[in-house]
């Protein structure tokens, strides 16, 4: 089993600087195929920075990222998308000047299998019927919740192997958040590996197979989602008890 369980993504001693700011300090963790891994931590702990380094948006100053056994140093984001590593950025990141349908098609930008793209489009509309109603509208006219749905549906259009999801609950009503987390679990069960960054530690730990706590740029605690949910420090620091 040891060969088969080689991690899909491995992060070793990752350091990232923004100018003088030392945002990641030797963060290390790995993700096995088929898992949901959550990163939790306070604002500024380095969660988003980690995702941005993995997807090639930031150049780490030290450390190593390995994806499917391949060192990702120097790879550009668009090359990683081609390898099945897809990052749905925070702040929703939909293109407000494009229609909902154009946004969805951009998610499948590198794919050539028209029939399967159409199938995935229907699947996306099945998950989020609201998007079908608004397919011809500019994405900028959608509500915050609808834009989040669009961002997730668009990320799925790439059929990623590893999906990096940044703050999918940001600014959403609790009901919609719950629906979105249900969908995240469903797509994971269908085989997609997910690295989730989330403020809402309850939700993030609830669906995670493994989770890591980031504090000032380092991983300070790791475990299964359930273990961390029970940990007294976590309950005090992140679950408001």
């Amino acid at each position: 089993m040891s060969e088969a369980s080689a991690p899909l993504l491995k992060i070793e001693n990752l350091d990232v600087h923004y100018g003088a700011i030392h945002a990641l300090r030797g963060a290390s963790f790995s993700i096995a195929q088929g898992e949901i891994v959550s990163l939790i931590g306070a604002n500024g702990a380095g969660k988003t920075t980690t995702l941005r380094a993995v997807s090639g948006m930031l150049k780490p100053s030290a450390g190593k990222i390995t994806y499917r056994g391949e060192d990702l140093a120097g790879k550009k984001p668009h090359q990683l998308v081609a390898k099945g590593l897809c990052h749905a950025p925070e702040g929703r990141g939909v293109f407000p000047n494009l229609t909902v349908l154009e946004n969805l098609h951009l998610g499948a930008f590198l794919r050539r299998d028209t029939a399967a793209i159409h199938e995935d489009l229907e699947k996306g509309f099945g998950l989020f019927p609201r998007l079908r109603e608004r397919a011809k509208q500019l994405a900028g006219t959608l509500s915050g919740g609808e834009q989040q749905m669009l961002a997730i549906a668009r990320a799925l259009m790439a059929r990623p192997t590893l999906l990096l999801l940044d703050e999918p609950s940001l600014g959403l009503a609790p009901q919609i958040t719950e629906a979105i987390f249900q969908i995240i679990e469903d797509i994971n069960r269908a085989g997609m590996t997910i690295l989730l960054v989330e403020q809402n530690a309850h939700l993030a730990l609830g669906i995670a197979h493994h989770a890591h706590v980031l504090e000032t740029g380092s991983v300070v605690q790791s475990g299964t989602g359930r273990e961390l949910l029970k940990s007294p420090e976590i309950r005090r620091a992140y679950l408001g008890e």
Partner: protein, 300 residues
């Protein structure tokens, strides 16, 4: 009445040329937030290459034919497309992450290089240019339309329709619009932003070459500084319509051409060039984002 119509026809014909140049400014601004001041000189190069192809490398200028003119046009557009690609690659790409003012100053440098390099290479004196017959094509009860005007209308409308099609109905056009909103997020979709930026420069330069050929046919001469004034005016046209906005550049170009022709016709032709800049000042005072521009205008 006929006089007014004549001015409108002449104005639209000039405006269509401005619109073609303005499209290059606005597209490059869209993807890079850079005013490419060398764009007017690529326009000059288009006209100059047309002159070389028709008068120096072939006998086309002495013996004009439809296919000959088309071939000269395609050759000059291809050369300018390559030059546009090289300019971006060599001058702007190394500065992609530098402060925006550095790129702007570099753009002015590239512009000088083309203007004065052009004077060295092509000689400073104007040369007569003609790949289009300078005869009247149509006369509708006193309203006169030259061949040049007809060709200007046909070619520029065709090019603008093709461009509209590319930008709004193709995969690469969608990618261009995505990059123009946010290049980083666009790259997360798998879009190679460097390729899209190169493509935008090539597209803009090809349109500028077409505009240069049409302009040189309308005022039948070419010289290395001919891109200066039309380049500046097309920049005004792009701002007028809303910089970064493709339909805006077309509208701005046509409006500017009309205004210029009407002022020259009814007031004084010495005010011709002042009109453009008066319009620039007015639009910046009244609606800085331009006629069709987004109200959340970005900082230049």
């Amino acid at each position: 009445m006929i006089e007014l119509l004549q001015h409108i026809v002449d104005g639209l014909s000039l405006g269509a040329i401005y619109a073609l140049i303005a499209l290059g400014y606005t597209m490059v601004y869209g993807v890079l937030k850079l005013i490419n001041f060398a764009h007017g000189d690529v326009f000059m190069l288009g006209a100059m290459m047309g002159y070389y192809a028709s008068a120096k490398w072939s006998g086309e200028a002495q013996n004009p034919s439809f296919w000959g003119a088309a071939l000269v046009g395609i050759l000059s557009m291809a050369i300018c497309g390559v030059v546009g690609f090289i300019i971006e690659r060599v001058a702007y790409r190394p500065l992609r992450n530098a402060p925006r003012i550095n790129s702007l100053i570099t753009a002015i440098g590239v512009s000088f290089l083309l203007e004065y390099g052009g004077q060295n290479l092509f000689g400073p004196t104007p040369n007569p240019f003609g790949i289009l017959p300078r005869r009247e094509a149509l006369n509708l009860g006193g309203l006169s339309l030259g061949y040049v005007d007809v060709i200007v209308f046909v070619v520029s409308i065709a090019l603008m329709l093709i461009l509209q099609r590319i930008v709004f109905h193709t995969r690469i056009g969608t990618a261009m619009r995505a990059v123009s909103w946010n290049a980083q997020v666009a790259s997360l979709m798998g879009i190679n932003t460097d390729f899209i930026i190169s493509f935008t420069f090539v597209l803009g330069s090809v349109l500028a070459a077409a505009a240069g050929l049409l302009y040189a046919s309308k005022y039948p001469s070419v010289h290395p500084l001919m891109g200066l004034m039309p380049g500046l005016k097309a920049f005004v046209a792009a701002v007028l319509g809303g910089i970064g906005n493709v339909p805006g550049a077309m509208l701005g170009g046509l409006l500017l051409g009309l205004a210029e022709q009407l002022v020259a016709g009814y007031w004084s032709s010495s005010w011709r060039d002042a009109v453009a800049f008066a319009m620039l000042i007015i639009i910046l005072l009244v609606k800085p984002s331009g006629i069709l521009g987004r109200s959340d205008a970005e900082k230049v």
